[in-house]
């Protein structure tokens, strides 16, 4: 069964459907949260909160407004970004730089990519973006930086970053072949 149908069953209190949904989405949710949050213990905590939220709030999903997977991953991403930003606010700037120098945004993506058609495809499509499009998109999405922070890091005007993000996402859509 697809995530969309499962979510509808889950909204009706079906625990078996939730188990099936868990099997389908826990990997993407956990992987995404871990990519953004990085700290393993905190990633697990956030991923658990997100999955439980799916159970609690399944009724809020509106199939007319997009796919279930996109809804679920949007929720997971928002939570992960919130967590990483509040943690980051507490971390000293130098420390942050040092840590980042250790894990450049894009290399780590490449590193984490394993076999799998969708993964390989996303990676290829990211490779096809211009460097600035790719960096703008990945610093925001995978590292949880605001577009202001991205502009600062890349020494670009705010307007340019916003445009690169938009162009980057639309290029990805073309490359990936439209909405999943």
């Amino acid at each position: 069964m697809e995530a969309d149908e499962l979510l509808v069953l889950v909204a009706g209190g079906d625990q078996k459907a939730f188990e099936e949904l868990y099997g389908l989405v826990s990997g993407p949710v956990f992987g995404l949260v871990r990519r953004v949050v990085r700290d393993p213990a905190q990633s697990e905590e956030v991923a658990q909160e997100v999955l439980l939220e799916l159970w609690r709030s399944a009724a809020k999903f509106d199939p007319g407004r997009g796919s279930a997977l996109s809804w679920i991953l949007t929720l997971a991403h928002r939570r992960a970004v919130d967590r990483v930003r509040s943690a980051r606010a507490a971390v000293d700037r130098e420390q942050r730089e040092a840590r980042r120098a250790h894990h450049p945004a894009f290399d780590q993506v490449t590193e984490e990519v394993e076999a799998g058609l969708e993964r390989e495809w996303v990676r290829r499509c990211l490779d096809r973006l211009t460097a600035l499009q790719r960096q703008s998109v990945t610093l925001a999405y995978y590292d949880g930086y605001t577009y202001r922070e991205v502009a600062e890091r890349l020494s670009l005007p705010l307007g340019t970053v916003k445009t690169r993000m938009r162009d980057g996402l639309t290029q990805l859509r073309k490359c990936l072949g439209g909405v999943a």
Binding site: A11, G13, Q15, E19, Y22, S26, G27, P28, V29, F30, G31, L32, R34, R35, E44, A47, Q48, L51, L52, R56, S57, A59, K60, D62, S67, L69, S70, L73, T74, H77, R78, R79, V81, D82, S86, A89, E112, E118, R119, V122, A140, Y141, Y142, G144, Y145, T146, Y147, R148, G159, K162, T163, M165, R166, G168, L169, T170, L172, R173, L176, A180
Partner: protein, 272 residues
């Protein structure tokens, strides 16, 4: 505002669609954009498409979660009631510890320090009731378009409520208007509601400020509608009070008028 200024501002807001889809807006901006989104069908469609694109990026990061997580989540599911369907979408459950009647729940991340737990019960209850009441008022007005914004806000609110050191306070002025706050010093977050204040005149907004000794006021965001709770993040532990001023549309970098209301944060565990 002149037509040109309005168009420019609209244009400017439009350009935030991609950063919004990537969750790359600061909370204040996110809020303003979501407000705009509820009145702009073309933006909503664009955001929807861009969000689908962003979600595709998630697929390249999928990784198997620890096996024990499954058991924990499924156990939690069996013990957790579901929220009823969309409207009212998220009845805020006030955990007992916010009311000061039970010890705070344990958490993996312990708060930096333990203070004797104390909430003046009447005050806490009043503030909590205020927050809940305004949430309901908001939810009654919800249209489907506004749900997303409300959902993210409910999450923020639940997050504050779940903090072990969440405490509540209210301030009333001589005319019976009040400000209600539930805050967590360890999280640096607060939910703030205004009650009884008239909507600011057209082209003006209510703006919330963090006041701190020897520091300039820092904006914590703009109130959406008179009674919509504002979720403030990044509160400093040494903050001594919250203040609300009336500012030109879009907010100011620094307050340009006297506060209409101010609330001390000492009883909420701040000010050190």
């Amino acid at each position: 505002m002149s037509l040109l200024a309005r168009l420019l501002r609209r244009e400017d807001l439009h350009s935030l669609a991609a950063p919004y889809a990537l969750d790359a807006l600061e909370s204040g901006e996110r809020y303003r954009f979501e407000k705009h989104l509820s009145t702009c069908d073309s933006c909503a469609a664009e955001v929807r498409a861009l969000s689908e694109d962003a979600a595709r990026l998630a697929w390249s990061t999928a990784a198997p979660p620890p096996a024990a997580m499954r058991d924990r989540v499924l156990a939690a599911v069996r013990a957790t009631p579901q929220a009823p369907s969309p409207i009212p979408e998220h009845t805020p459950q006030l955990p007992p510890h916010v009311w000061g009647t039970q010890p705070p729940p344990s958490r993996t991340r312990a708060p930096r320090e333990r203070r004797p737990f104390f909430v003046p019960l009447a005050t806490a209850t009043a503030a909590a009731a205020l927050v809940v009441a305004s949430l309901f008022a908001v939810q009654a007005r919800q249209t489907q378009d506004k749900l997303d914004a409300a959902q993210s806000q409910s999450r923020e609110i639940n997050h504050v409520l779940a903090a072990p050191d969440a405490r509540a306070a209210t301030g009333k002025d001589t005319e019976g208007r009040s400000i209600g706050v539930i805050a967590s010093a360890s999280e640096g977050r607060a939910i703030v509601t205004l009650s009884g204040y008239a909507e600011p005149p057209s082209g003006r907004v209510h703006q919330l400020w963090q006041m701190r000794p020897h520091a300039q006021p820092r904006s914590l965001g703009l109130f959406k509608q008179g009674d919509t709770p504002l979720v403030a993040t990044g509160l400093n532990k040494s903050a001594t009070s919250l203040a609300v001023t009336v500012e030109p549309d879009g907010g100011s970098a620094q307050p340009t008028s006297q506060p209409i209301v101010q609330l001390a944060l000492k009883s909420l565990g701040f000010g050190e």
